[in-house]
């Protein structure tokens, strides 16, 4: 109980995220039907006993599509957080340690960060077919520069520390220094950053799908469902609103979790933001 009182945001955020993950995993057992089953005779019915969230313009059950859509959004969110985290950490570590590469890499990262994220993701998606994989890769590329900056900052500040200097002086090879001294110090800010990247990635994926540059229309994702319901939203708003609510709650939960983690792990960071 003490933990709950001291860190309410972690508990609330974590519980909601867990609920969404469970919904995504157990979607087939939660009274859903096939999300891609067409039934044009039953199109655009409002929410009722039979169709809890109504049906869309092709007669598909919105409730099922929303629940199955959580799989795509959560997959993209978590995958991007892991990918961007891995890529950014790798580049940041190398860049922090090698001065020559550092200058070039930092200029490249500055260049990438100068292009607004959505536009960069859109441009990358314009290069390839629409698929969940390509969306994950595209969004990871747009999120990596920030992780790279973060890790490089930690490496640069730690490199001057006496214990690291001592380790270098006593002949420890660089990979061992990275593993034993640098990485443990990056874990806390990385975890916090990863949750925010997850939230941002989910919003970006929804935005990309909404404008038609994201996941293919066959696969239900919250952005896709909203894009399809867009034409009818003035008369049948429920097609847009139910995925919108789910998306907002999930992103809110992840953000709360990130806020709570940041407050818990490093009170100094908490003061700044």
């Amino acid at each position: 109980m003490g933990f709950v009182n001291r860190h309410p945001t972690i508990v609330i955020g974590g519980a909601l995220v867990l609920a969404m993950v469970l919904i995504a995993i157990f979607a087939p057992y939660l009274w859903t039907q096939d999300p891609t089953a067409l039934a044009p005779a039953k199109r655009t019915r409002p929410p009722s006993e039979l169709y809890w969230f109504g049906t869309d313009m092709l007669g598909r059950d919105v409730y099922s599509r929303v629940l199955y859509g959580s799989r795509v959004s959560l997959t993209v969110g978590f995958s991007v957080a892991i990918c961007a985290g891995a890529i950014g950490t790798a580049i940041g570590l190398i860049s922090g340690f090698t001065r020559g590469i550092d200058a070039i890499v930092m200029r490249a990262m500055d260049g990438l960060m100068s292009i607004p994220q959505i536009l960069l993701a859109i441009a990358l998606m314009a290069l390839t077919r629409a698929s969940v994989q390509n969306v994950i890769i595209a969004i990871s590329i747009t999120e990596s520069p920030r992780v790279c900056r973060l890790v490089r900052g930690v490496v640069l500040s730690l490199r001057e520390q006496p214990y690291v200097e001592a380790a270098i002086a006593s002949g420890t090879r660089v990979p061992v220094i990275i593993w034993k001294h640098i990485l443990p110090n990056t874990l806390a800010p990385l975890m916090v950053q990863a949750t925010f990247i997850c939230a941002s990635a989910m919003i970006t994926e929804a935005t990309l799908s909404f404008i038609g540059a994201g996941t293919p229309p066959i696969i239900p994702s919250w952005g896709n469902i909203m894009a399809e319901g867009r034409a009818l939203w003035q008369v049948k708003p429920y097609i847009v609103f139910f995925p919108a609510i789910f998306l907002s709650i999930t992103v809110l939960a992840v953000n709360l979790l990130g806020d709570g983690l940041r407050d818990a792990l490093d009170p100094r960071l908490a003061k700044r933001l």
């Binding site: 260049g111 607004p116 959505i118 998606m125 935005t207 038609g212 609103f241 809110l252």
Partner: protein
Amino acid sequence: MLAYVARRILATIPVVLLVALFVFSLLYLAPGDPAAIIAGDQATPADVERIRASLGLDRPFAVRFFDWFWHVLNGDLGVSIFTNLPVSHMIAQRIEPTVSLMCLTLILSLTCAIPMGVIAAWKHGTWIDRLVMMTAVFGYSTPVFVVGYLLAYVFALYLDWLPVQGFTSIADGLIPFLRNLILPATALGLVYMALIARITRATMLDVLSQDYVRTAKAKGVGQRGILFIHALKNAAVPIVTIVGIGFAALIGGAVVTESVFAIPGLGRLTVDAILRRDYPVIQGVVLMFSFVYVLVNLGVDLLYTVFDPRIRY
């Protein structure tokens, strides 16, 4: 001082070059033959050959890049595959709605968010503080188009106070202009407001605990004077930084907001270009927005010296 300004301007040049390099490479990173992509689906082999010759694909990459970049600097962004109009012409046609939306959003966000952050910091720990912070988290978490649809549904469809979509130029009257843009500006600005309110509150908390604030209070300076003159000016640097960085979110959000509210601006142009794989238009729009973003951040860097004369690097 002048040296600082010159140095900051020079520092943006490599960044601009890198952005241009990436945008230029876009066409060549795409799978398939660039000439065939530009020629489109209905082109004959003769057309493709003609386009390949005009692209000059036999010249080295660096030559092609600088030739293209030289054209960009002279205002020639290429020709759209789909409409055969010059890209710069298409952009000029649609720039007014987007600029109007962004300006209104900026004004709205700054005038709402900064006082909110200041008051939250002043009443730290009370319900006002908690309310502002919770609103900020909600604002930060809800995607732009969700807020857009929500506002449109409540204020335009249900209450019928404002038009649902569309755009009127300011030349046609201020009131219709505002009526059309107030909902999109609010939807677009919510994320921005959340970011600014949070950073304002955090920095103000830092500043308000400083000694010089206590001195000011002891001297008898009124509460408003302390908050807005002594404290805010010192807190300005991080706030202005976030204003600059958050501008990217504004640009990205504008693309979506224009879709939701049917505003005929650059965002819609981008969305249409994506769907048709109209690479010259995508290149032109991304390049333009990135340049604007770089300029905004340059302006922020230069603004630092106004707020904090100690900054001279």
